[in-house]
């Protein structure tokens, strides 16, 4: 295919050519970054929480009337018994928070009693001996808490556990070369012995600012006797909805001095996950919709503009056909013309995409755009351009040679 005649012709359509190229460039810049954002956000969404999410129910219980620690202890013990006896409940424990909840406590954990030089941050879960079974956490090394090891903590009491269980990620971070079980670490000024290591267990937070340590979780053997209590309930398989319907009434029947919010007091773990990843999912949806519509509009724009050019050049096409050009020649003329414009567009667009990404990195702490996205975007836009131009080009190739003899 001769390229020079095409370039010569394009000179007569400078504005149109520039506009298509510009549209392709801008579309590429935005679509690349949008796809990258989608991929990042979906990557967040698909990260496992570490807990066995099916058949898990969470009840947020606020104690009414400011009971003291002893009163909370007895009400909590009675609640746990009530819940355990509820048909369909397999296991239950009381805690301060759970993975993806969005709220919780962070401690520094390290090898020194001086808390100003801790190794890293860790999420703190106050649990009892039923937590591992209820959450479906896998014990990789060591042992679970024993019932007699579960202490009590009230607000502002000293948190100085003798035994703790940590996640594998945290264990590896603290003791890269050896097993962590049996080792001492410092959460407080007193050493705590790691008695067990569990597999994955996410922190309560999904924010990117805490992503670095989002699997550094520590379980402490305490009943937390404060203003509110979270009950984590594992139901028998298939009983989740049934228990969810009855649990609030059951607890109120046992004791009315509590508040379980009608709005979100009782949630399944699926609800918790959906809420935690709300903005990630939302961004992915929005970016997906914008990309899709933008590609459609750019494609349709190319169809429209090329159609006009074909209509404008019917006579020239007829002349070329009369002088011996085959239908194929005409078809490939328009495809090549579009490819040339497309290539110019994607070269500019590639640069714009990287520029936009650099700016987003600077402004929004976004990660560096992987080159694969630019390559994929270039491929998508070139294929889209060729696809869009195909129908008008086919129509052009059908122009009969006799057209050359007609006036407009």
């Amino acid at each position: 295919m001769q390229i020079r005649p095409i370039l010569a012709t394009l000179r007569y359509h400078k504005a149109g050519t520039l506009l298509i190229a510009l549209q392709i460039a801008l579309t590429l810049a935005i679509v690349c970054n949008a796809l990258f954002i989608i991929h990042q956000r979906l990557g967040q969404l698909s990260r496992p929480s570490g807990v066995d999410e099916s058949d898990l129910l969470l009840v947020h219980n606020q104690w009414a009337g400011k009971p003291d620690a002893d009163e909370v202890a007895s009400m909590m013990a009675s609640d746990l018994a009530t819940l355990r006896n509820l048909p369909g409940v397999a296991n239950v424990y009381a805690t301060n928070t759970y993975p993806l909840s969005g709220e919780g406590t962070v401690f520094g954990i390290g090898h020194s009693p001086d808390k100003k030089t801790y190794t890293d941050s860790t999420a703190i879960y106050f649990v009892d001996d039923n937590a591992l079974a209820t959450l479906g956490l896998r014990l990789i090394a060591g042992r679970n808490f024993r019932p007699d090891e579960i202490g009590a903590s009230s607000k502002h009491s000293k948190i100085e556990p003798d035994e703790i269980i940590i996640t594998q990620a945290l264990a590896h971070h603290l003791f890269p070369d050896a097993s962590a079980v049996g080792k001492a670490v410092y959460l407080s000024r007193k050493p705590s012995i790691i008695i067990g290591v569990v597999g994955r267990m996410r922190t309560p937070w999904v924010d990117s600012s805490m992503a670095k340590w989002d699997e550094y979780s520590t379980l402490l053997p305490y009943r937390r006797l404060e203003g509110y209590t979270e009950y984590v309930i594992r139901t028998q398989p298939g009983q989740l909805d049934d228990v969810a319907r009855r649990v609030k009434a059951t607890l109120y029947a046992a004791n009315r001095m509590r508040v379980i919010s009608p709005k979100n007091g009782v949630r399944t773990f699926a609800d918790v996950g959906a809420q935690a990843y709300n903005s990630d999912r939302g961004m992915a949806i929005l970016m997906g919709a914008i990309s899709l519509i933008m590609l459609t509009i750019t494609g349709a724009g190319i169809v429209g503009l090329t159609s006009f050019w074909v209509g404008q050049r019917r006579k020239q096409i007829g002349v070329r056909r009369a002088l011996g050009a085959t239908q194929r020649d005409i078809l490939s003329y328009f495809l090549t013309e579009n490819l040339l414009i497309g290539v110019a567009g994607v070269i500019v667009g590639g640069v714009l995409a990287i520029g936009l990404n650099l700016w987003l990195m600077n402004q929004f702490e976004m990660e560096k755009l992987a080159m694969g996205y630019v390559v994929a975007g270039v491929a998508i836009l070139l294929v889209l351009g060729q696809g869009a131009v195909l129908a008008p080009a086919l129509r052009a190739s059908k122009v009969p040679p006799v057209e050359a003899t007609r006036s407009v």
Partner: protein
């Protein structure tokens, strides 16, 4: 004449219905995406107290030293209880208040009714005039009631509705947790967004508070904060409430009203003097370091506008730009294809200006149609916005008259801007050349 141009334009648009639909749809989608995301961004980044935001300041004090900031941290965004009390005692601002959020349960007097959860704040008397809180009944408490640690409460209009059926409840009693409080005031609707005085604890867009009680009283009753508390390196503090309030844990918000530049400078100097004094008595082992942000700077510092709202607005604007480039190209092709027609009209005496106006009328119709489509799509966008943004933020965006006006105006103005070059080209068609070519 213009009506005639509109008629011509209508006829021309109908000749290529698919192309017209494409242009209208592209503009509609571009404008709708921009309008929806802008509405969210605008709602999230607004000034919650425009007439006073430049006079309200948040002090920060470096109480943990440079080592605590080595990991890229900022100064703590709240004060410790001892520091907040020192600032209250010194009373160097025109008005000032320490604040912390509390979660309580309201216990209805009717024993057959169940307790329910209420959220509120512990604050000082200055809180209400300082933040221009409007009262429906009664008033805020006064400074002497702060000093007396009085058991009084200001409740929201919503809580007054729930507890007293909306009647004037001043003088009546409500029970929060294990204590009674006498109602001194009922607020009118008051929900500044973002809730600037609590952005260090919440996203600033959650449900408005139900009540306010005197800070001094809340401390007497050992009421816990429902917000963040941060205890860098102070794990060795004493156990119990006393150890807690004497500690260097930060959990108390503090706001000062400083009416002019001189007051701001004086307050900054005061804070520096306070920090220097702490260094002198051996509490701080580092050079004094303080910061003073005004309200809007504070919202920025606390990153109140979620990055998602900004990114999605910027990408939507980019999207609109692509739609406009698309429109420029299509209009250009469409107009130039009618060069012959233009040539005839020019030869028959139409001036360039008239040609220009004729094609501008056609573009105007596309712009208006695009605006209407955009309006419908913005409406759809507002319904679907809960899918995309955090519900607390999403509910801020409404189909208000200003959003409607902005959508239509953007569609028309951008389309006309896009039509400038194509219409200019159309007006420059040489009649002789066109007539000869045919």
């Amino acid at each position: 004449m213009f009506a005639y141009y509109l008629r011509l334009g209508w006829r021309s648009l109908r000749r290529n219905p698919l192309l017209t639909a494409l242009m209208v749809f592209a503009i509609g989608v571009g404008v709708a995406a921009s309008a929806t995301t802008f509405a969210v961004f605008h709602a999230a980044s607004g000034n919650p107290l425009p007439d006073k935001s430049a006079q309200l300041f948040v002090p920060q004090i470096d109480i943990w030293g440079p080592a605590s900031r080595s990991a890229g941290r900022d100064l703590p965004d709240a004060l410790s209880y001892p520091d907040a009390m020192a600032l209250m005692r010194d009373h160097k601002a025109a008005r000032q208040t320490a604040i912390y959020p509390m979660a309580s349960t309201a216990i209805p007097q009717d024993p057959t009714r169940e307790p329910f959860a209420v959220n509120g704040y512990a604050a000082y008397a200055d809180f209400f005039p300082m933040f221009e809180a409007p009262f429906l009944y009664g008033n805020g408490w006064n400074a002497s009631q702060d000093e007396a640690h009085a058991g009084v409460v200001v409740i929201s209009r919503a809580l007054n509705q729930q507890l007293f059926g909306g009647a004037n409840s001043v003088g009546r009693t409500i029970r929060l947790d294990d204590h009674d409080y006498r109602v001194v005031g009922v607020l009118d609707e008051w929900n500044p967004r973002p809730r600037f005085y609590d952005v260090n604890n919440s996203d600033g867009f959650s449900d408005p508070p139900d009540f306010f009680v005197p800070f001094t009283r809340a401390i007497d009753l050992q009421t816990e904060t429902n917000g963040n508390s941060n205890c860098y390196g102070s794990a060795g503090r004493d156990a119990g409430w006393k150890g807690w309030i004497q500690s260097d844990c930060v959990w108390v918000s503090f706001w000062a009203e400083l009416p002019n530049r001189a007051a701001v400078t004086a307050y900054h100097d005061y804070l520096m003097a306070y920090a220097s004094e702490q260094q002198r008595v051996g509490r701080f082992h580092w050079a004094p370091f303080v910061q003073l942000h005004d309200l809007m700077q504070w919202l920025d510092y606390e990153k109140v506008v979620p990055p998602e709202t900004r990114i999605s607005m910027l990408l939507s604007l980019g999207f609109l730009l692509v739609c406009l480039v698309n429109t420029v190209g299509l209009l250009l092709a469409k107009f130039m294809r009618r060069a012959a027609e233009i040539g005839v009209r020019r030869a028959l005496g139409a001036s360039r200006r008239e040609i220009w106006l004729q094609y501008l009328a056609e573009a105007l119709m596309i712009g208006v149609a695009g605006g209407v489509v955009g309006l419908v799509l913005t409406g759809v966008g507002m319904l679907g916005i809960g899918l995309v943004f955090d519900p607390d933020i999403a509910r801020l965006a409404r189909m208000s008259p200003s959003v409607i006006g902005l959508t239509l105006l953007t569609a028309v103005v951008t389309t006309l801007a896009a039509a400038l070059y194509p219409t200019w080209r159309a007006a420059r068609v040489q009649p002789a050349w066109q007539l000869k070519a045919n």
